[in-house]
Symmetry: C2
């Protein structure tokens, strides 16, 4: 399998758009696909070879595919409901970077194999800024030949690529365990800031103390800034962590393994979603706490 010259990027949200731009910058022939015409226009103006709502249209041009949609259902839709898998050239490597379960990853691999396509189980992390800079973290499993074939895409989009092993599903599992930490850290940040608000500690000061001390986390620093600013416009969303912590819970169920903190954190995000904050920034999980005043949010004190 020779190295790829072209890549179809499916899903031009914050991560996919960043990855697509990074591929353009690296000199790859980039074909962009999304249902959002604004995203297509943006990528088109930045040097993509072509953009479309329908990836099948350019299937014969694609040496590789990068799928950066939200969940397993969307991966299945874009690959198999649209006939894309059937239209791609044999042996085209398909890099699946959505956060999905190990079981879903294995099922998608099997379906790709029916079309003589190979898969890299390659979830990503790092956020929109890192994606834009071509500095995502990729935690991947698959055949070494698939890693080799996708090297130009991996180099263009990632600062760090972990090769976890051959078995499809390992990449998904590592990402899910990563999301366990991400989700618990956001919920813990919310719990701490809510307690600070209840104790009449100024939240900007609390934020400043924590971010300069051993209680800090990447998520605390990034997300609790939104709480301090009272800005819950969605960068990531509460419902993303409802999904991801449910994937954590499914993984634990399969392994019969107890997860006291993840279970509590999942319950917090579900409560937030149920209270109507599902489409707000994930930091809005703090709104489940009653009896506190938050910057920019009306008091819930009854």
């Amino acid at each position: 399998m020779s190295e790829v010259q072209s890549v179809g990027v499916i899903g031009l949200g914050s991560m996919g758009m960043g990855a697509a731009k990074s591929c353009v910058r690296a000199g790859l022939d980039v074909y962009g696909f999304d249902l959002n015409p604004q995203a297509l226009e943006e990528l088109g103006s930045l040097g993509a070879k072509a953009v479309s709502t329908n990836a099948v249209e350019f299937a014969d041009k694609l040496d590789s595919v990068l799928v950066l949609v939200v969940n397993a259902a969307q991966v299945n839709t874009v690959l198999f409901k649209t006939d894309l898998a059937a239209a791609l050239k044999a042996n085209t490597p398909v890099m699946v970077s959505a956060t999905i379960s190990a079981e879903d990853a294995k099922q998608i691999e099997a379906k790709l194999a029916e079309h003589n396509l190979v898969m890299l189980d390659a979830p990503v992390s790092g956020g929109a800024v890192k994606a834009e800079a071509g500095e995502m973290t990729i935690m991947a499993s698959g055949a070494q030949s698939t890693f080799d074939a996708l090297e130009p895409v991996l180099n263009a989009t990632a600062a760090k690529v972990y090769n976890i092993g051959e078995a499809i599903g390992l990449g998904a599992t590592v990402k899910i365990i990563h999301q366990l930490l991400a989700g618990v850290h956001i919920a813990a940040g919310a719990e701490a800031m809510a307690l600070a608000a209840r104790a009449n500690i100024p939240l900007d000061l609390m934020y400043d103390v924590v971010t300069n001390a051993a209680g800090n986390s990447w998520m605390f620093e990034n997300r609790m800034k939104h709480v301090v600013d009272g800005d819950y416009s969605p960068k990531s969303m509460v419902d993303i962590f409802v999904k991801d912590l449910n994937l954590v819970s499914d993984t634990a169920k399969d392994l019969k393994f107890p997860l006291p903190l993840s279970s509590a954190a999942l319950n917090m995000f579900v409560s937030a979603s149920n209270a109507g904050f599902g489409q707000e920034d994930d930091s809005a999980v703090i709104k489940i706490f009653d009896g506190i005043e938050l910057p920019g949010v009306e008091s819930k004190q009854k």
Copy 2:
């Protein structure tokens, strides 16, 4: 109140020893007190004016006191059971840097006031390395004149001093909320690494992924290294977080505030202590999980 020239450092554990050394380096006259003769010898050889198991002995030499013991009971013992408070010069500022409840801080302030002494409610963070470097984070409340008087000690020991306000108890509360995050992050790190072990993900790889991605925390990076190395020799201890998360729980109880994650984390540390790991490194909280093999630890699989 003029600036202090001498300081009595009471409690020469990892944090107190680091603070005492930093004061020596800054040119202060340092008097060190501890029950451990080795600690006294070490500080004596590094330029302390005097060291002793009995702080009362040098009470008339002290312009200021820094108390860096483990809990409120020890603070009360060293200040009031030894007659030190009675022996100190009037208006001597006493910087209380143990992690204690807001209520304990207020009671200690009242007792110091009976002896015409003033208190800075000044918990610290940063770990032994930062203490040694004179770069602790100090989150303090008290009268501005007490901050001013202690400036030489604060400058010598801290990279960052937060002035949270006048009221004694605010410093304690901010530290307790900080410990909420620290404790939950250690427990979350343990939960994630335990799940990784159960899913047959190599722990060194999992550690490497997380520390290069958005799931990272200060505590994950610092403490899960001990798990990867299989080294549970105590830097901090499980029982310290049993104590600190109980302080978090007491604070929440006073404020009638629910803390789903902290409660779960407290239960994990209590389980670890109850299983016999109280005196091990706090990362040993991971040993509560059955059915996994950890580096350097015999399997608990039954």
